[in-house]
């Protein structure tokens, strides 16, 4: 017997992450390029908070959301997925705190 599966479209549908992955990606192109090319010269622009702020915030989100996509593809066990996701959160929050420290120390 053929009958449909149940898909509801829920809060964690993935729409928001998908969109933010793209938006952050495009902004990251600009800020990383500025940071990179300025650091090999004087570093004057590359350390401005208008560059470093988005770089850290969006970079950490983009990276860990990307890692999550990879985990979802290769890790089958729900338990392991939850553990790995928790690790990503811990790493992400730690990195964000350290990034704040770096920016404020400049």
């Amino acid at each position: 017997m053929i009958k449909g599966y149940k898909y509801n479209g829920h809060g964690d549908s993935g729409l928001f992450e998908w969109l933010l992955q793209r938006v952050s990606g495009v902004i990251l192109i600009v800020v990383i390029a500025v940071h990179f090319f300025s650091m090999i010269k004087s570093g004057e622009w590359g350390l401005k908070s208008i560059v470093l702020g988005p770089l850290f915030a969006l970079g950490i989100f983009h990276t860990l959301n990307g890692f999550k996509a990879i985990t979802d593809d290769y890790v089958k066990s729900t338990i392991w997925r939850a553990i790995i996701l928790a690790i990503y959160w811990i790493v992400g929050v730690t990195a964000a705190v350290l990034a704040l420290k770096v920016v404020s120390g400049l």
Partner: protein, 138 residues
């Protein structure tokens, strides 16, 4: 009803097929003579993944390093090979990522053009990597 342990995990159901409850994900693993062909899009995606992981690890360690932890990281990334790898990964990931964003937001998923789009990405990656590498080494 079939118990899980009556099933083998080489990718096909050992017992008579009827009523097999084996999850599909475990069934794709029978020994394949030929794995799926790496079309252009698949190659682009695998490279995007690999470059994404390299960049991600770099970014996280860069933050930890600058904050005073993971000191060894500075020494590791100081060498020329490491710098070139990160540069290539970034330039490729950026252009290919931009290609994906363009497809998504300009309705550009045409079969005829996507290999060409990918060639543009490769070409831009090579050119911009060289431009970026010159100041790195001078």
């Amino acid at each position: 009803m079939v118990e899980d342990n009556e099933l083998n995990f080489t990718g096909v159901c050992k017992i008579k097929y009827k009523g097999c409850k084996m999850p599909r994900k475990d069934l794709v693993t029978y020994p394949k003579k030929v794995s799926y062909k790496k079309h252009t899009g698949m190659t682009a995606w695998l490279l995007h993944r690999i470059s994404g992981v390299i960049l991600g690890l770099y970014l996280l360690l860069h933050i930890f390093g600058k904050a005073g932890y993971a000191d060894w990281f500075g020494a590791l990334t100081g060498n020329a090979i490491a710098r070139i790898i990160v540069l290539v990964a970034f330039v490729y990931h950026a252009f290919n990522g931009f290609r994906i964003v363009l497809i998504d937001f300009s309705n550009g998923a045409e079969k005829e053009v996507f290999s060409k789009q990918f060639m543009v990405v490769v070409l831009l990656t090579i050119v911009v990597t060289i431009i970026g590498a010159i100041p790195l080494f001078s």
